[in-house]
Symmetry: C2
Subunit: 203 residues, 2 copies
DNA sequence: CTATTTTTGGACTGAATAGTCCGTATTTAT
DNA sequence: ATAAATACGGACTATTCAGTCCAAAAATAG
């Protein structure tokens, strides 16, 4: 038994910012390098991205990379968590407005995400990885449930359960538009269709 | 100039069954091995599948594989074309029934495809590859357009263009359910939501 | 300053990758 | 039978892959 996986332990115990004792502090910003990693995964997908791609984009050496995230899979999970948090927070903000506007704003945000033609990072990863990586599936499930809840409450604030089916359909609708977009359907065609469906569905 | 890419030329000229002159005939069925390749790609995704995985599943030696399909990308395209043809043909058949039933049957078939939790092979490939592989994007665009047309004509047989937006929304809806399914949402939750949306959308 | 702890660069490893090549077997045409 | 053409098995190559390791640098605590 030499030394095995010391880094995974280090990165596993929550916030790596907990730093009191002696030792050299890391010379990079965690959120910043995670965003760089996100961009690469988002553009190329998980399997098509090599650790070299990641370290180059993040500006980290291999040892820093493995020390902080443990594995390629580890950095993906970290990226997905931060991405999901940010996306849900933005959606929650949009959901606060008056009913119709809230639904419209949420649909627009979901169907035309910050990633542009790259779609939604989480949906991409669900499609590519969920059947084989339970952790990704779990993250995706939670993310989608939250979106569904937001739609439910926007549609029917006093009795969200009554709008469950419609909310789920709206979520599916928005997610489906991402595939249209990726295959090259022009964005304006998508928004008119989305708007038509919304006026019918969000009664 | 030694010998370069003789195989791609061979496979490029349409049906490789055109075989008149001398020479040993291939000892495998093309449709059969393509289906084996489909299963592997469908389960694992494109990048996660190695040529060894493919040849093992297809029962071909490396040289037969490259002689027939030219590259990993080549066999993917062949698989996608045959998959798209078969799926569209099945959908066309479903679209022939009376309006409401046709829409319902098509939605059900799209949202619960033969692949089960693996979703739709074409949608998977669009998500994973379309932004980087124009040929896959083109195939996906065509496939989705055909689906949209089928919905349009089912909704409004005499003036399909009038139902364009609704048709596109229905297609997006069905495709979106695949992501829900992949992340683990139970199928019955999906079908009730789909049914609710259909009764509202397919007036 | 000294001791201690941590980060960092970069070399290294063994396995896996996509694709090539060649000798041989197998079939058809003459 | 013989020649021409194709399919096949499997070894081979050069590259890339994810992950490991170590020595040196850097920063803090006392």
């Amino acid at each position: 038994m030499t030394r095995e996986h010391t880094h995974t332990i280090a990165s596993a115990k929550g916030s790596p910012k907990a730093h009191a004792g002696p030792g050299r502090p890391r010379c990079y910003d965690e959120a910043e390098v995670l965003d760089k990693a996100l961009q690469v995964f988002w553009r190329q997908g998980y399997e098509a991205t090599s650790v070299d791609d990641l370290t180059a984009a993040m500006g980290l050496s291999r040892s820093s990379f493995y020390s902080a995230f443990g594995s390629k899979h580890g950095v993906l999970i970290a990226v997905l968590k931060s991405y999901s948090d940010a996306a849900l927070q933005a959606l929650e903000h949009l959901a606060e407005g008056p009913r119709d506007q809230a639904v419209k704003a949420m649909l627009d945000a979901l169907s035309d995400p910050a990633g542009g033609p790259r779609g939604c990072m989480l949906v991409n990863c669900i499609t590519e990885l969920a059947p084989q990586h339970e952790e990704v599936a779990e993250l995706g499930r939670h993310h989608l449930k939250r979106i569904e809840d937001l739609f439910s409450r926007a549609l029917s604030p006093d009795n969200p359960d009554a709008a469950r089916d419609k909310a789920r359909a709206l979520a599916a609708l928005a997610i489906g538009t991402l595939t249209l977009r990726k295959s090259g359907v022009p964005p304006e065609s998508i928004s008119t269709a989305l708007e038509a469906a919304r006026t019918i569905l969000a009664t």
